[in-house]
């Protein structure tokens, strides 16, 4: 005797459980997607303008004795501002930098603000009463390094950080990709089922779980404390490679496992030696998948901050030498600028650096997807 299937809509406690499960699933979906959208939206809104514009070097506004902004025309014309700043009636000219200006009646923060007509390219005479911002089209973000720009200056790009991030990513790949691929080939082609493979596999699992700061400390202890070397981009690359190696190894291993044994057997039957089978048959078959893993690995290490904080000095100027002891990078540019108060040009740079990092990682991810879509396995 079997109970007949109940095909009616559930009711009572079962209906409640059912809708609870539905709600849980949708809540999980929201939790998984909304923060990402929020992050993307806020970073884009705050960071995007700097990628293709630059704020005015200075604005010209008029303030009274208690630093409140009054309509600019009360102080006079732009020509008056060039002439001098001393005025009898207590009003005075101020030249805040960065292009942002507050509305009439609000307090102007005169900290580190020029009191004489400044020497700069983009000086904007503010004749509107509202708050606003003056920006000019410019690609200086991509073409110049931060250099000697202060946190109040609107000029100053991120070339040194973009270069540093890309260089560190590429050098890390140069170390981690061969190592990871050879390890995976060993696991799949040579050591399958052996004790050695199990040990290696176990070690790789452990290495996957090593936090980036621990990897950095290991390199610091070994290269800098023990061998007395200086901090350098190469030391950073070694630490990053430790993080990337297991990622590449695991993804390569999975891809190699997907290659059907019949292909290998066919090659052996034709008298092809094992190394040539691997090089000409197995790896090319799974090449697209391997490449996807590599690109994702690079994208992952580019965002790492901890090893950079410990193993390399942050630089504001562009140094091309990978053996030097300072180099800019986008994550450290963000951490360096985080103390700048909101509203200063320097705090916009933090958001723009974050957006640039997201863009680079996103381009790499899309690239990986394109490659993966072409995989014919």
């Amino acid at each position: 005797m079997t109970t007949p299937l109940n095909l009616r809509r559930p009711s009572g406690a079962r209906a409640f459980k059912n809708s609870l499960a539905t709600f849980g699933v949708w809540a999980a979906v929201a939790i998984a997607t909304l923060p990402l959208l929020w992050i993307l939206a806020s970073v884009t809104i705050k960071g995007a303008p700097l990628l293709f514009t630059v704020g005015a070097d200075h604005t010209i506004v008029c303030v009274d004795e208690s630093d409140l902004r009054v309509p600019t025309s009360q102080c006079g014309t732009e020509e008056d501002a060039k002439g001098g700043t001393t005025r009898a009636d207590g009003l005075r000219w101020a030249f805040p930098s960065g292009g942002k200006h507050v509305a009439v009646g609000e307090k102007v923060n005169l900290y580190r603000v020029d009191t004489a007509y400044p020497a700069a390219d983009h000086i904007v005479y503010v004749d509107s009463d509202g708050a606003g911002e003056a920006r000019f089209f410019s690609l200086q973000w991509w073409t110049s390094s931060l250099g000697n720009a202060t946190s109040k200056d609107s000029q100053g790009g991120a070339l040194q950080a973009i270069y540093g991030t890309l260089l560190l990513g590429l050098l890390t790949a140069a170390i981690a990709v061969p190592g990871g691929m050879l390890g995976a080939i060993f696991l799949v082609e040579y050591g399958r089922g052996t004790r050695a493979a199990r040990v290696v596999s176990f070690m790789v699992d452990i290495l996957t779980g090593v936090p980036s700061i621990v990897a950095a400390l290991f390199v610091y202890a070994m290269f800098i404390t023990t061998f007395g070397m200086k901090r350098s981009a190469i030391a950073t690359v070694v630490a990053l490679a430790l993080l990337m190696l297991p990622m590449v190894l695991r993804s390569t291993e999975e891809m190699l496992k997907l290659v059907p044994d019949s292909l290998r057997e066919a090659a052996y039957a034709l008298g092809v030696p094992k190394w040539k089978t691997i090089l000409r048959i197995v790896v090319p078959t799974s090449f697209n998948g391997i490449l996807t893993g590599v690109v994702l690995g690079i994208a992952r290490v580019m965002g790492e901050t901890a090893p950079l904080l410990i193993l390399i000095g942050y630089a504001k100027y562009l140094y091309l030498d990978p053996f030097g002891d300072s180099m800019g990078a986008l994550p450290t540019m963000i951490s360096d600028g985080i103390s700048v108060p909101d509203g200063d040009a320097g705090s916009d740079r933090v958001w723009a650096a974050a957006l640039t990092l997201i863009l680079i990682v996103m381009v790499l991810n899309l690239l990986a997807r394109r490659i993966a879509a072409k995989t014919k396995l």
């Binding site: 303008p49 904007v124 250099g147 946190s151 942050y314």
Partner: protein, 360 residues
């Protein structure tokens, strides 16, 4: 993104005259080169105290404008990290809120380690700028607040807990303070500012501050925040709160700053306190002993920030000497009070210049 573009375009439309470059570079403030600055060129690297960051940022910009093609890097990772990097030879100079220790701590003497790094020559501490410590507060409707040192000590120790306490009222006749709890922020990280502030409290109050001066905050009341920026943001966003911080951090955010014993904080009042500072180092080393009870018209809570350099045998001495000469020059020091710092008093500046000239 498109919203933002629209906003930018809107701003352009508002400032019709603004969207084309309106003026060419003016010749107004082409800085002149102070005497003794020769621009040898190259790359100079320093690391250390975050309290000097804004000061050095401006100095570096001014110096590299005079000496194009020179690069000066300063990483603000904290006094301790800076001294470590200097001893390890990673940077040419360190910025620090306290001079190198001459007493052993954990079995090492910083000054000896630094001497080793300088090839056996002593490293010298050069006071380069003074940072007044501001007591910033956020109380609606109270634009002027006066506190005596012992009241400050008791507030930060958690003994005075409300703004309308009789002790605070006694310092501020005629001002109505709210019946609200005092929110206290302190530096959660180890900081030279905390060390100097607690040193001041310990010396200026007769036992009202019960703790030993140290880089780590010893009080039990309040909430810790990371770095000056964290503390300053805390005061900015929390009503009825108070905190100590570098003056620059308060100015940067437009925070209200309390007077101490009736002396308001300004470049002049802070400089007045420095006249009484006493040099205790020798042979070019200019470590200072500050006087925390300087008397009338002087703002007492100040801290010296040092540049630590090799007297001889360091890396990159020519550029280092040149840069520091520029920083210590009369005309450069004249502008530092707009950055929230107090300039070197003239007598001390001459000594500093002498020490810098001896750097080889």
């Amino acid at each position: 993104m498109s919203l933002r573009i629209l906003a930018a375009a809107g701003a352009c439309a508002l400032l019709a005259s603004a969207c084309a470059p309106t003026s060419s570079p003016q010749s107004a403030s082409v800085a002149t080169r102070p005497a003794g600055v020769n621009c040898p060129g190259g790359t100079l690297k320093g690391e250390g105290a975050s309290s000097q960051k804004i000061f050095l940022e401006e100095m570096v910009q001014a110096y590299t404008r005079i000496c194009p093609g020179t690069a000066v890097e300063y990483t603000s990772s904290g006094s301790g990290a800076g001294v470590k990097a200097f001893i390890g030879g990673a940077v040419d100079w360190a910025g620090s809120d306290s001079p190198l220790r001459t007493k052993a701590k954990d079995g090492v003497v910083e000054a000896d380690q630094a001497a080793k790094r300088c090839g056996g020559n002593p490293a010298v501490n050069l006071p380069m700028v003074f940072g007044p410590i501001a007591i910033a507060y956020n109380v609606d409707g109270v634009d002027q607040l006066n506190l005596s040192p012992s009241v400050i000590a008791r507030i930060f120790d958690g003994q005075i807990t409300t703004w309308n306490a009789p002790e605070i009222a006694a310092d501020n006749p005629g001002i109505t303070l709210p019946a609200a709890d005092i929110g206290i922020f302190y530096r959660a990280d180890e900081s030279g500012t905390t060390e100097n502030f607690t040193e001041y409290l310990a010396e200026a109050t007769d036992g009202a501050w019960p703790h030993e001066p140290a880089k780590a905050w010893a009080g039990s009341a309040g909430e810790g925040k990371e770095k000056s920026a964290g503390v300053a943001e805390g005061v900015l966003t929390t009503r009825n709160s108070i905190a100590y911080m570098e003056w620059g951090a308060a100015l940067e955010r437009g925070l209200k700053v309390a007077a101490i014993d009736g002396v308001t904080l300004s470049g002049t009042t802070a400089s007045a306190a420095l006249e009484a500072a006493e040099v205790t180092g020798s042979d070019g080393d200019l470590r200072l002993k500050l006087d925390y009870t300087p008397g009338d018209g002087a703002y007492p809570a100040v801290m010296a920030t040092y540049e630590i350099v090799c007297s001889t045998g360091g890396t990159n001495p020519d550029l280092l000497r040149d840069f520091l000469t520029f920083v210590a020059a009369d005309q450069t020091q004249a502008g530092v009070s707009t950055l929230g710092y107090a300039p070197l008093p003239p007598a001390l500046r001459d000594q500093v210049a002498e020490s810098i000239a001896a750097v080889r």
